[in-house]
Symmetry: C2
Subunit: 145 residues, 2 copies
């Protein structure tokens, strides 16, 4: 009764699935853009939707620590994907702006990201995906309590 080895549980499978997905995603992205990680891509995609977001909010969206985001952004500025300027209303914050290089990169990675998702979910019915979402949401809620 629930005395399973962790490697025999569905939680281990979740870890496995996301790791495999990250692997093919990184592999496919790297074929097109050399010096970018999939997490940096996600940052670009999110900022592209809403560039008024704070580093804090960004960190939450990509499930990372503030410290990680600080360093990621630092690197992305250095690699000329982002510009960073001080926020005028709240001087603790920063404006994050996608550079021209960043925009061009987005155009390159968007189709790859789409293909990655399609590959990973190939053969899954809409019902299966909906159920998967529902179950994962339950797990997330359980863990947050």
């Amino acid at each position: 009764m629930n005395n399973k080895n962790p490697t025999a549980t569905v939680l281990y499978l979740i870890e496995h699935a996301i790791k495999e997905y990250r692997k093919i995603s990184q592999r496919n992205i790297s074929k097109i853009v050399k010096d970018i990680t999939i997490d940096q891509c996600l940052v670009l995609i999110i900022l592209n939707k809403d560039d008024k977001i704070s580093q804090n909010e960004l960190a939450n969206l990509v499930f990372k620590d503030n410290a990680s985001i600080t360093r990621m952004i630092e690197l992305m500025v250095k690699k000329d994907y982002l510009n960073r300027t001080i926020h005028q209303e709240d001087r603790r914050k920063f404006n994050l702006e996608i550079t021209e290089k960043g925009k061009k990169t987005l155009e390159l990675i968007n189709p790859v990201a789409k293909l990655n998702r399609k590959t990973a979910l190939n053969g899954l019915s809409l019902e299966e995906i909906n159920l998967l979402e529902k179950t994962l949401n339950k797990i997330i809620t359980n863990c947050k309590i």
Copy 2:
């Protein structure tokens, strides 16, 4: 038609779920054992089931790179969770042995690990879990092709 933002897809939810699970797991483990990570716990649990395993195999089981495992083991030896000796038949390999401290730690973390899984999966029916497993396995297969 599949032109979703990545943050709106089920793959993002998978990432979210595992991150939340890792968070509560680490939090609960840290309450009981101070200087151990959940990945190090998993290494202990796996070695406890089969101590004849190579670093290579261990890396595969915990979805890590050989380089990561080398450094993890180095640390675990330093913290006296493991002993490492040269393998006599194959001198490229090592024997990994759990120390007394490691064994005591296992006894402490096993109930916590069990509780973590129970917490995360609370309220899920057996059918839901089976379906989740099936769907995740499909995704894993898709990504490995």
